[in-house]
Structures are given as C-alpha cells and as structure tokens.
C-alpha cells in the first residue's frame, strides 16, 4: 500500500459526502412519518432539506459569540473530512501516518470543544445545555473508545492504519474483539450525536445544539453529523471488518460494501431506540462497558503475545 498523492484529498472528501448523503437518504426512507408517501419523495429528503436551508435566512440571537458559533457549526464537517484522510478505502488512503489510530482519536476529542462551542456561541439556554450534554456524554464514551481502539492496534502491533488492515488477513478483528467493535460503533453514534446518543440535540431541549442555528449554519452542522457517521463507519470497516479483504469481489468494492453496511446499521438504530440520557449512559459506561472493554483488551493482549511468540 502506498500513500496516495495530494490531489486524492478531493475524491476522499467527495466519497465522505456521498456516503453522508446516502445515510441521509436512507434515514428519509426509514422514517415512519412519511410511510404513505412515495419512495421518491422520501428518498429526496436530503435534497428538499438542503434546498430549504439554502433558502433560509441566517438568523442570529441576542449577543451571540459569533466566532465560536460559526466555528462550532463548521467543526463536525471538517473533523469528519480529516478523519477520512487516514481511512484506507480499498487499500488506499490519502495519508497513512504512523499514528493513524491516535489521529482518529485526537480528532474525535477535538469534537468536544467544537460541539461545545456550537452550543455556547448561540447564547441560548437550550443550546448551552446541549453543548454541555455533549461533554457529559463524551466523558462516558471516550475512555471505552480509547481502549476499544487500543485492541486492533495491539493485535496488529502498530498504530498505522495500513498495518492494522493488513493484520486482518485471515481473521477479521470483529471475530475476536466483538466488545471493542460494539463500543466503537456506540462511540461513533456518540460523537455524531446520533440515535440513542442524540441527547445533546434532544427534542426535550428544543434541539439542544441544533436549537439556534438556521440556514447555511444548520445545513453545515447537519451535513457534518452525517459525515461523521460516514467517517466512523469507514473507520469501523477498516479497523474491525478487514477493510478490503473478501472473496471474489475486488477489494475496493468490499471496503465500500462494508462501510455502507455499517453506516446503514447506524442509521437504522435511530428508529429502534429512544435517546439515552447522559446520567444513565455514564453509569453504564463506567460500571459495565469500561470493565468489559478492559477485559477484552486483556484477552487481545494475551492472544497477541502468545501468537506473536
């Protein structure tokens, strides 16, 4: 595997956005509210929403912190694109740094501050509560996520994404690291404010961090949310599902298929569950999930030592 040239940033970004739109289309198709309407109308939902938000005036609030607000609104999309930079798709990544796994982790932590500023900058009660909810939720999932990321890295003996993928020839990591895989998917939903982890954007606080932005700001923020899901799904397929490994079909197709499947599962889960409140998530994460992840990591480490000699 070789690092791709610089211009490959553009197709990578396009790919992330394509997956993000796909996720939005799927979300529209699955929405029971529109069940009686034609599939075309439902599938076109991202288009209608985009048109609506492009037409909408950009509104403000009383004495906002405009700089932080705009930065926060743009944050998720930027972070998602930066995450995608290290994800190999079909054996090819834009960049393949030595510390690809940590890079992903650092970016997801960057979201803490960005989403928080999106809530803070609006200078509204509900938005601020949403921003803090994000931090509270992040405190719950971050530590399990770190240990979940450590699993594949230990097994591969490297933090480099290409080597993590290469180490899965033969056996995908998901087979012997199911806990880490589950935690990772949960964390992806968590940092994307999605589904059961949509608490920071909850309807009970008038949309939380989504309560105040309108027009283009809102469009970018919502697109960023789907893009984060897409980047997370791509990462999951590379870290745990063996990336391009698979019979018959070419590697890039396998990568694309796996990413699409993970993404679809993430989108679908939103309809299956209510939002989990952060206090409950916190208890679950620290008392149950964290020990489980550590046990998983122990198993992985022992196997890695035994097998690796």
């Amino acid at each position: 595997m070789t690092a791709a040239p610089v211009w490959s940033v553009l197709p990578a970004a396009a790919l992330v956005l394509a997956y993000a739109s796909g996720a939005a289309v799927l979300d529209g198709l699955l929405d029971p509210a529109d069940r009686d309407r034609g599939a075309g109308v439902r599938a076109g939902r991202p288009l209608w929403e985009t048109a609506r938000l492009l037409r909408q005036r950009r509104r403000s609030t009383v004495t906002p912190d405009a700089l932080l607000w705009r930065a926060g609104a743009a944050g998720p999309l930027v972070v998602a694109l930066l995450m995608a930079v290290v994800v190999p798709m079909g054996g090819r990544a834009v960049a393949d740094p030595v510390v690809g796994v940590v890079w992903f982790n650092a970016l997801d932590v960057a979201l803490w501050l960005l989403v928080w500023s999106a809530g803070w900058g609006a200078n509204g009660v509900y938005a601020l509560v949403g921003g803090y909810r994000y931090l509270a939720q992040a405190l719950a999932y971050e530590l399990p996520l770190m240990f979940a990321l450590t699993g594949p890295a230990v097994a591969a003996g490297s933090l480099r994404m290409s080597e993590v993928v290469a180490a899965q020839h033969g056996l995908w990591f998901v087979v012997w690291m199911p806990v880490a895989f589950g935690v990772f998917l949960g964390a992806v939903a968590g940092f994307s404010l999605w589904g059961p982890f949509g608490y920071p954007a909850g309807r009970d606080v008038a949309g939380g961090v989504l309560a105040e932005p309108s027009g283009v700001d809102r469009l970018v923020l919502l697109a960023g949310r789907y893009a984060l899901l897409a980047a997370g799904a791509a990462m999951a397929s590379a870290l745990f599902l063996g990336g391009p490994a698979g019979p018959v079909l070419p590697g890039w197709l396998w990568s694309a298929l796996k990413t699409a499947l993970v993404l679809a599962a993430l989108v679908a889960v939103r309809r299956r569950m209510p939002v989990l409140r952060a206090d409950r998530v916190m208890r679950l994460a620290w008392l149950v999930v964290l020990p489980l992840t550590l046990a998983q990591l122990l198993v992985v480490a022992v196997i890695a030592v035994v097998v690796g000699g």
Binding site: D65, L68, A106, W112, W120, Y132, L135, M282
Partner: protein, 176 residues
C-alpha cells in the same frame, strides 16, 4: 517548506497563548489555549515525533473540554458580556515574563549546543514504545502510580461528602 510551516505554527501557538490573557471571554480564552496547544502539537509533528504530537493534541483538547466545564462552574460572567480584566500586578508580571523570555531565548540561541548524536530511528513511535516497556519501565510505573494517586486525591478533595454517605451521584472523575 518545513521552516515556513514551523514559523506559522509557532506564531499561531504564541498568538493563541497571548490571546488567552487578552480576550474578554472565558470561552474564547479556553479555545485560544486549545489553539495554542494544537499549534504546538503540530510543530512537534514536524520533527517526526508523530506520536508525541498527536497525543499532545489529544490530551490537551480533552483537558480544555474539561476546563470548559469548570470554567462555567467557577467564573461569574463566563460569557464575557462584560469586558474582563482580572489582572493584578500586571506591570510586574509583564516585566518578569519579558526578562525570562529574553534570558531563555538568549540562552537557546547563545548556548553552544553539542553536536547531534545519531539519527532519528525510522519509527520513533516504535522506539518510544520499546523504551517504555523496556528500559524506562520504571518511569512509567511511577507515572501510573502517581496518576492513580491523583485520581483518588482529587476525588477526595473535590467531593464534600464521602462516597457512601449521600445519595449516589453519578459524577465522573474530573480527569480522564
């Protein structure tokens, strides 16, 4: 190329650091500090210490996130609606820090540094990992003990009531 990048990042880092004490909003101060750290971490990336650079960024962003919580908790007027000046002894501090800067910078430029010995390993992260698990194991074990002691003592200091004599409140430890 590398020099230009470094200069830009260095300027950004210092500008962020200065901004911390200049802007009139705690939120912006926190973000400015985060920007300063990210720039410093990126500068470290330039010297092939990939792991150190990224881990610096990671840790510092996390700390700033935590700091945002405390900032609102402790500061009246966190929104910075009112111009904030909470200086005392500004002049003295300014003089001291300028003197320190001149001394340090002069020292850095003036000292006859020894010749560089050896070349960076092909994978500095690997070297670091082997050092931690090999020769420097003791250091890391000390660090981990200290960290554990910190968690415990911070909790003891910060919580007014004991663990079992109140309603069970699911508050997180204040550092991860």
């Amino acid at each position: 190329m590398r020099v230009t990048a470094f200069v830009l990042l260095a300027l950004l880092a210092v500008a962020g650091g200065v901004a911390v004490f200049v802007v009139n909003s705690m939120a912006r101060a926190t973000i400015a500090l985060a920007v300063s750290f990210v720039a410093a971490g990126a500068a470290i990336l330039l010297v092939d210490a990939a792991y150190l650079g990224v881990i610096t960024i990671l840790m510092m962003l996390m700390e700033m996130g935590i700091m945002a919580i405390f900032m609102i908790m402790f500061m009246m007027n966190p929104g910075g609606l009112m111009p904030m000046s909470m200086m005392h002894n500004k002049r003295g501090a300014l003089v001291v820090s300028i003197v320190v800067f001149l001394l340090l910078a002069g020292g850095a430029l003036g000292t006859p540094w020894p010749q560089r010995r050896g070349t960076p390993p092909s994978d500095p992260t690997l070297a670091l990992g082997e050092a931690i698990m090999g020769g420097k194991m003791l250091v890391m074990m000390t660090v981990s003990a200290v960290l554990f002691a910190t968690i415990v003592s911070a909790m003891v200091l910060a919580t007014g009531r004991g663990r079992y004599d109140g309603e069970p409140s699911a508050r997180p430890a204040d550092d991860a």
